[in-house]
Structure formats: structure tokens, C-alpha cells
């Protein structure tokens, strides 16, 4: 119990003194996971929309794949991204293994199926022939897609939160493709793992609390937008 108390104390100490290393780690976590979420939104919404609005043979199987992907194990993603990015791997010429860029790639792969799955179910929840109706009123396809996105804004904001929450709390892929390099690719989760293995449990707890606070802040902002829309 002392240790937990000590950790909480440490967390607030690190936060209020603006400890440069912890601030750097926190900012990098937000950075990497934020970019990964944005990328996954573009890809995920596109795929989700396409699958939701089209009918083709094997569609059910594709939907099952997407739903399975929502639970994609981060370590497996990390392993494959590592193998691809090795110097002598297929994408080795990029020389981006053990960089924040590699972490963004891995996290985007983890978040994309989550966003895709939620988009898919959100669009399917709209009245079945809404898109035909919009088209018949003279909208172009692009306008139609935009209206559908606006109509399903609430669940799509949930997709943002789920995707972001999934990647910022993820450790397996980040440590494999990022390498937990001090001041460069060390994020809150990988730092927590390292401090735990160093036996610095109080600092590990402090980092965990900072991670939770960060998630809370981001979600408060997003929820505010989401629920504000709703009340209008």
C-alpha cells in the first residue's frame, strides 16, 4: 500500500515540477498515438464505408475479418512490422526500425481495424436506404459519403476514442519496433515496463497514473464534443 501511495505522490510531483524527461515521454506518447489514430481514421472510415455500402460475394467473410482485426494482438503486429522493417527485410531500405515512425506504422495497423469495425456498424445502423435517398435528391457520391459521416458522428467519435485508447495503452508493438530508446522512442507504456523491471515500482506507478490522466484528458475533450452535438 505504501508503494501505491508513494507512486501517486511521485506522479503528482513529476507532473507539477514538469520533469523534462517525463514531459518528453508523455508528449511523445500523445504524438505517436495521435498521428496513428488520425491515419487509422482515414483508412478505417474509407474501408468501413466501402464495405458498408457495397454488396459483393464473400462480404460476410470480409466483415468477419474486420471484426477479428478489432482484437489484433499488438505483439503479433509488432513482430511482423519488425520483420518487414529489418535492414535486410523487404522494407529495410526505409531504415526506420527503432524510430517513432515505425511505432506510428505499427499503431496505425492496430487501430485501423477498430475504426473500420465501428464505422461499419455505425453506417449499417443508419436507415437502410438512406444513401439511395440522398443520391436521389441529387447529391454526388462524395456528398453522400460526407452526409453519412455527419449522420453517424456519434459512433465515429466512439471509434476515435476506441482507436486512440487502444494504441496509447499498447506496449508490445511499441517496445518491439521502437526499442524503448531513451529520449527518442520511449513512451509511457514502454517506460512503465522498463521501470518495473528495474524495480522502481513507484516511478512505474507514477507513469501509469500519468498515462491514465492523459487518456482521461483526451477522452473528456472528445466526449464533450460528442455529447455536445447530441444535446443540440
Amino acid at each position: 500500500m505504501d508503494m501505491i501511495f508513494e507512486g501517486i505522490k511521485q506522479a503528482f510531483f513529476l507532473l507539477f515540477t514538469l520533469d523534462p524527461e517525463v514531459m518528453g515521454i508523455t508528449w511523445l506518447s500523445l504524438n505517436i498515438s495521435g498521428v496513428a489514430t488520425v491515419i487509422s481514421l482515414f483508412i478505417g472510415i474509407s474501408i468501413g464505408m466501402t464495405v458498408a455500402l457495397s454488396r459483393f460475394p464473400g462480404r460476410k467473410f470480409v466483415v468477419s475479418l474486420i471484426n477479428t482485426g478489432m482484437g489484433l494482438p499488438p505483439v503479433v503486429v509488432g513482430l511482423f512490422v519488425t520483420i518487414f522493417l529489418w535492414r535486410n527485410g523487404p522494407l529495410g531500405f526505409l531504415e526506420i526500425l527503432y524510430t517513432p515512425t515505425a511505432m506510428i506504422i505499427a499503431q496505425s495497423i492496430i487501430a485501423t481495424p477498430i475504426v473500420t469495425g465501428i464505422t461499419l456498424s455505425a453506417i449499417q445502423h443508419l436507415p437502410a436506404n438512406l444513401h439511395l435517398q440522398i443520391l436521389s435528391l441529387g447529391a454526388t457520391r462524395l456528398q453522400m459519403v460526407w452526409i453519412l459521416i455527419k449522420e453517424s458522428k456519434l459512433p465515429l467519435l466512439t471509434a476515435v476514442m476506441a482507436g486512440f485508447g487502444g494504441v496509447i495503452s499498447e506496449v508490445g508493438a511499441s517496445i518491439m519496433v521502437g526499442g524503448n530508446i531513451k529520449g527518442y522512442s520511449r513512451v509511457l507504456t514502454t517506460a512503465t515496463v522498463m521501470e518495473t523491471s528495474r524495480g522502481n515500482f513507484d516511478i512505474a506507478i507514477a507513469l501509469g497514473i500519468i498515462l491514465l490522466l492523459l487518456c482521461l484528458c483526451v477522452n473528456v475533450i472528445l466526449t464533450h464534443i460528442q455529447q455536445g452535438e447530441r444535446l443540440r
Binding site: L30, N31, I32, G34, V35, V38, W86, R87, N88, G92, E95, I96, L97, Y98, T99, P100, T101, I104, G179, N180, I181, K182, Y184, M194, T196, S197, R198, G199, F201, I221, H224, I225, G228, E229, L231, R232
Partner: protein, 284 residues
């Protein structure tokens, strides 16, 4: 409400652009040949030694070191594949094989400390104060007291296997012998929780001691010497290896300055040094 939401959206969009720009510029500002990938054991990172040595090296030379802390076994595999530039490891037998197959060049002695056998204070197997690590392993096996192995092909695991071999113990499947598959720090924590014995390097044990319910039971056996070498990955095999960077790092770590840092590391915090510098000495 509507007004706030527009402001909120704009704030989110600005943040996103700031973030994207920040990451892109950070990545672009990193020249590639300045990077050195150092594959090393968990003990050098968990003890905190590299946190002192590497900033010093980076400041002096302008290189950027990417430290990947894994077991010695995995570090050597990275070297074999040309995925690392320089290795700092402690698994002498496997290192000799690594050199013999031509994967590395310029293997040099860096430092040593020693392995110790730690266990619960109650010492159910009664090995405290024994002089021979082989005999104490026999005793642990005979008593059936729990033993935690790293089980990850690390240098520590390799040492344990050689002791078990010398003691003619086949631990696979035995109930007293369990594998964690984790780094030294975590294996020590687990051993402490489960009141088990384990083999550890002294450095990691001293660094974590305050959180552990384990005491040193067997030490100072010649077999328990723990020797660290630096090896440059053979650039003739892999043209992507940063040869100059690897050379700079390995020259640095055997230099007088670095050896002095190693000598003094940990004295202030733990009361005794964690590593003993050995550069330039002849191997026994």
C-alpha cells in the same frame, strides 16, 4: 453549445497538425549514418550503467545510440542477421561460436562482475555459504525447492545451463525448475514473490535489492565469473552495418574515460561498484 463545438473542433484539428508536423520534423532531423544500434543484455540497462555511459559517448562523438536491451542470445542473433552494429554481451561460450562463424570482429574484454545464487532467507535447500555452485545446484535439485530460470538464452541462462551440465542435472520438466522467459529484473521479482532460488548477476541484484526478499547464498565460485565483451558486427557480411559507428563505440567503451565511469558506477548509490573494468587485460 454550437459555438463551443466549432471552437473544439478547430482546436482538435490544430493539435493534430501540430502533432503531425512535430513527428515529421523530428524524424527528418535524424541523419541515418549517425545511428548506431547497440544490442545488449538487460543487465547493462536494468542496472542503469548505460544511462550514464551512452549520453557521455553521444556528446563526445555526435553519434546517436539506439540501445536495444535483450538477452545476450537474442543480441547475437541480431548481430548474425546484421540488424545490429555493435554488441555488449556476456555469454563467452556462445560468443566464441559467434566469432568462429565470422559474424563478428574485434571482440574485446570490457568488464566483469560475478553471478551469485540468491534465494529466500529461510534457505530451504540449505545452500548458504557453500563454495561450489555445482554442489549447490545439486542440493537445490535434491531438495526440490523452487528454482526460477530465465529461460531466454540470455548470458545468465547460458551460465546456468553450463552449471547444470557440469552437475549432470537434467531439469527439463522437473517440478522444482521453472522458467520465466523474462529479463533479470523481473525474474528476481518473481523469485522473491515465490520464495524461489535464482542465478543472477550481482549488478542487477544490487540495483533491485531494496525491493527483494532474497539474500545472497552462494558467491565467489570461480565458475560464477560474469564477463562482458564488446563485439563489432562483421561489416564484410552486411553492407548496411554502421562500421565506423560500431568501431567508435567499441573503442569508447574500452577507453580510459569509459573504464573509469564503469569503475565508479554505483558506488555512491549501492555502496559498492556493480562492475569492474577489465579493458586491455589478458583473459584467463
Amino acid at each position: 453549445m454550437k459555438r463551443f463545438n466549432n471552437v473544439g473542433w478547430i482546436a482538435v484539428i490544430i493539435c493534430v497538425f501540430a502533432i503531425v508536423f512535430d513527428v515529421l520534423s523530428a524524424t527528418a532531423a535524424q541523419p541515418q549514418k549517425k545511428n548506431i544500434i547497440l544490442a545488449t543484455t538487460t543487465s547493462t540497462q536494468d542496472s542503469g550503467l548505460l544511462d550514464v555511459l551512452i549520453p557521455f559517448f553521444e556528446k563526445k562523438t555526435g553519434y546517436f545510440v539506439k540501445t536495444i536491451a535483450v538477452g545476450s542470445g537474442q543480441a547475437m542473433v541480431m548481430g548474425q542477421k546484421g540488424e545490429a552494429d555493435v554488441l555488449l554481451i556476456h555469454s563467452p561460450d556462445a560468443e566464441e561460436k559467434f566469432m568462429a562463424e565470422g559474424s563478428g570482429i574485434n571482440r574485446r574484454l570490457v568488464m566483469h562482475n560475478d553471478f551469485i545464487i540468491v534465494g529466500p532467507v529461510e534457505d530451504p535447500a540449505g545452500i548458504k555459504g557453500m563454495k561450489s555452485s555445482i554442489e549447490s545446484f545439486k542440493k537445490i535439485a535434491a531438495s526440490g525447492a523452487l528454482y526460477m530460470s530465465r529461460g531466454d538464452n540470455s548470458g545468465t541462462h547460458a551460465k546456468e545451463k553450463s552449471i547444470l551440465k557440469a552437475a549432470r542435472i537434467l531439469p527439463q520438466g522437473a517440478r522444482w525448475y521453472q522458467q520465466t522467459g523474462l529479463g533479470m529484473g523481473q525474474t528476481l521479482s518473481i523469485s522473491s514473490e515465490k520464495k524461489a532460488y535464482t542465478l543472477t548477476d550481482r549488478g542487477t541484484y544490487l540495483a533491485l535489492q531494496k525491493n527483494l526478499g532474497l539474500s545472497i547464498l552462494v558467491e565467489k565460485d570461480a565458475m560464477l565469473l560474469n564477463i562482458y565483451h564488446v563485439i563489432e558486427v562483421n561489416p564484410a557480411r552486411w553492407n548496411k552495418v554502421n562500421t565506423a559507428g560500431a568501431k567508435a563505440f567499441s573503442n569508447f567503451i574500452v577507453s580510459k574515460q569509459a573504464q573509469k565511469i564503469i569503475k565508479n558506477f554505483g558506488i555512491a548509490k549501492y555502496g559498492s561498484p556493480l562492475f569492474f573494468p577489465d579493458a586491455g587485460k589478458k583473459e584467463k
